[in-house]
Symmetry: C2
Subunit: 550 residues, 2 copies
């Protein structure tokens, strides 16, 4: 927090000034603004300090808990932000940061985002958003069309319908998933005779009315953690978010799923929804959506597809078959800030049935009146920015074919990287990329060999040490600040164990093969650290018939 | 949607270009960007067309439901956006638009928002946000300090605590209110002996464990509609969102509240939470928070204050007493995009007990690990932008004293406008401004007089006609596009009826007395329309002893 607050005093005059007079181009903020306009990549490269500073040190700059009494100058504050916030933020746009789901942005997103901020529309209602309402409805219709491909007669009837909405635009995939399950729950317990519906009467009375003891959501153990939040929030309880085991390819095990469904019957619990994943967060795999659709139909339950990550694969003629069956889903989540290359904070959910969202419809006296086209009557959130504009821009400027190129390139790059890992003696590919995500770990050849001969107990001990190697490797690489991969823990069928693995997401179009080689080369450097060498030696000593493994 | 998509073809080369080459300053988008940098008020004034275009016409520009196959040029798209979206958006920043809760923005918000977008941090976890995590935690601590004013020893222990969070930053007040009630629900049904808590076991088992038939949330009939969504979402049911009647000043009727609580007991329903409102959306009134705190203590239930609108009144030495008792609330919602003058999409909820949010804590394998400082383990949303930066900027640059000026000016301006209305013979002030919101209606003196003498039946008929006048007046004023007030329906104690009224929110510091006079003058013009005159004549004919009322 800047300290010098003398002449920036709180006066009416100064107050009017900050609401009316723009920053001079030669001021600190003006200069930053110009630098971002001119060359955002250069700006980020210059201003984000590469070397990690301990979080505790950064916290010291943000430790005052009093709102400053006096105003301060914009220039002074901007200096503070530059030195203390920007310098120590994460270079998410870097093509060498391949561990997260945030890519570089197309350059037009920045000036358009500023335009959106300047307009400051509130899309909760037409009165504060006007053209932004039909624009958002169009974006939802386009996404609906991408997923469901209904015929030309369908959309004119629904796109600007004053009673219904084809989907909901949200702040992110979590709210999208919650909305989908909320709709599913309210439709399962819709008003019926004397029962006025769960929205009115609540969950306990709904269960009693249907004569069941509970409701359950079924998803593979790779399901996103937002589903757990949804189960908690909606009153279902996390116990009844059934996490079904996966096959060797990280896809839901259909036999196990059927068994779980039978078990639900035994305890008088209704399946509320099956959730298929199109692009698991950790490994990028796609569940067998056709088979899930069949089972959901058989059970008469809601079928939701969490395609937050993988949805845009539908743009690709070559790869869209991987998502075959998604068009049978009752609802589908797709994130804008992932593979639609929109800035953070944009999720969407679309519903096959254009009347589905009426299950969560709500009204108020001053807005969202019956028959209005206000978007807010069908969203979990209330006041919202016009962020759909940036999805609209992406769809329009990049086009289906542009997105197809991005998707195809990412999947190809992931295969290239998988090849590099497999050819490299010191790494073990853990999950092959089905889309553009893969996992691997550091495991020198001698240990790889020894693991095949070890007893279960030895394997557990060796893998435990490799887990530690993985964790340190990832930490030191992140701290060095040049490249970044993430890590997670996965049950790996081949090893029949839960392992710590490195995770790579390849969605940044600026990531090259050279960069990927550099990522592996840096890892080979890092493992030479004495701390990691000691762990590897220890692992070697545990290996059967292997005196000096490394 | 622009049509010309020839040479902007989807090629690798063009793709790299949109991720790397910025827009030239002399391009269409570059020019817009510069215009916004130089003079945002002028840009909005020039580019937003004042006269309302019918929504159906606007919809025609957003009616294609196919994502365009080919890419298009940024310049072409920008032209489309300028003509079809910007031109027909709402001038929310206009000082003459006093009907909604969106004001002009301090100029520094725009370049800082662009910086935030360029950095594209994801505050769900430290790994993709680094310094943005302590920065957001500081913002929450500052807000906590504003509300609860705990002593200097308190904050260093909690502000950057790796187990807990003092609050949650959200996309808006709705998610903030939902989060508060979610926490309240999960704390009421916390793990206890054999019962593993509602988060695990769900609502039905929780009720059974406690031996109750339901849980209820109590709020006045002025409560925000987001509470209804929360009751639905959380499985409580809207029936058990008890809307308590208000007194003549739109504040919760404490006697009626106590009766409702007794009735809950009769039907074996636990009070989950009392919700006090600090600044009702429709009339800006503040519930008696001290008394609500007393009652919540007596009942042993959660006390939430929805201060989405009125929270920043705490900045004012002169007016903060109106919110006295808020420091006893278990949780408080305050919106950033309302009276903190931050762009759309920023809400916050803080909790008195710094461990409260652990009731909704969640973890995953790849992020939000136990003991991490990841903000995402205590929020309803997942991936989120670093929007707290703009609240941080507001707190730092405007300071407590600057916000105090803004609050004091708004309340003063509302009193001035109330005086104007009361002095004007043709208007009736419906609700006096307690903060900076008031309601009124058009009601010429003869009808005002006649209403005091009319029978109940006559009054109902006359007021029904005045409701229509009000509705048309608001509609035509909005469509003319020069000034804007909103409307709502309120039960008005003085008339013992529900009436349609005009609603004015005075938070834009650029609104002057002259503008407010112009708002009334325009309304006096609009009522001369034959359609409205006919309604007034009809009302006059219904008036007892009044041949020609108008």
């Amino acid at each position: 927090m800047p300290k010098n607050r003398d002449a920036a005093r709180a006066s009416l005059e100064n107050l009017y000034r900050i609401f009316t007079v723009p920053e001079a181009p030669d001021s600190t903020l003006g200069a930053i603004d110009q630098a971002i306009s001119g060359d955002v990549a250069g700006f980020l490269q210059t201003h984000i300090v590469a070397i990690e500073r301990p979080l505790e040190e950064i916290e010291a700059d943000f430790s005052s808990f009093s709102i400053p009494e006096e105003p301060t100058y914009v220039s002074e504050y901007t200096e503070f932000v530059k030195e203390n916030l920007v310098a120590h933020s994460v270079h998410t746009a870097s093509p060498a940061f391949v561990g997260h789901m945030t890519s570089a942005l197309p350059y037009f997103m920045l000036p358009l985002a500023r335009l959106m901020t300047a307009l400051n529309q509130n899309v909760v209602k037409v009165e504060t958003s006007k053209a932004f309402t039909p624009m958002e409805r169009q974006v939802l219709a386009m996404l609906h069309h991408l997923v469901y491909g209904r015929d030309d007669g369908f959309y004119p009837q629904w796109i600007h319908n004053s009673q219904h909405a084809l989907g909901a635009f949200c702040s992110g995939g979590t709210i999208a998933n919650v909305t989908a399950l909320w709709v599913a729950r309210n439709r399962l317990f819709a008003p019926d005779g004397g029962f006025r519906g769960i929205a009115q009467e609540g969950l306990a009375r709904a269960l009693k009315y249907r004569g069941v003891d509970g409701i359950a959501v079924l998803v593979s153990e790779r399901g996103h953690y937002s589903l757990g939040k949804a189960a908690d929030l909606l009153g279902i309880g996390r116990d009844d978010l059934i996490k079904v085991k996966t096959d060797a390819n990280n896809r839901i095990d259909l036999k196990a799923l059927r068994e779980e469904c039978r078990r639900l019957q035994d305890r008088n619990t209704l399946p509320l929804a099956l959730v298929g994943i199109a692009g698991t967060t950790e490994t990028g795999n796609v569940d067998p959506l056709e088979e899930l659709a069949d089972l959901a139909q058989e059970l008469g339950c809601h079928f939701h597809v969490d395609a937050a990550w993988g949805g845009p694969t539908l743009f690709s003629d070559r790869h869209r078959h991987l998502l075959s069956g998604i068009e049978r889903a009752d609802s589908v989540t797709i994130d804008g800030h992932k593979q639609l290359y929109v800035p953070m904070g944009a999720g969407m959910v679309v519903f096959k049935d254009p009347t589905a969202l009426s299950a969560i419809e709500h009204h108020a006296n001053y807005i969202l009146r019956h028959g209005s086209k206000d978007l807010g009557s069908h969203t979990l959130e209330g006041s919202r920015p016009g962020k759909a504009m940036l999805v609209h821009a992406g769809f329009s400027i990049i086009g289906r074919k542009g997105y197809e190129l991005l998707i195809d390139m990412g999947i190809e790059r992931a295969r290239t990287f998988a090849d590099m890992i497999q050819r490299h003696p010191d790494f073990e590919l853990i999950s092959e990329p089905e889309l553009n995500i893969l996992t691997y770990r550091y495991c020198p050849p001698a240990i790889q060999q020894a693991l095949t001969e070890a007893t279960a107990q030895q394997r557990a001990a060796i893998n435990g040490l490799l887990d530690q190697v993985c964790q340190l490797l990832q930490k030191y690489q992140r701290e060095a600040g040049k490249t970044f991969v993430s890590r997670t823990r996965l049950h790996v069928a081949r090893h029949d164990m839960e392992l710590t693995v490195l995770r790579v997401v390849l969605a940044n179009p600026l990531t090259t093969d050279e960069i990927l080689e550099a990522v592996l080369a840096e890892q080979c450097e890092i493992v030479r650290l004495p701390e990691i060498q000691a762990l590897l030696r220890q692992a070697g000593e545990l290996c059967p018939g292997l005196a000096k493994a490394v």
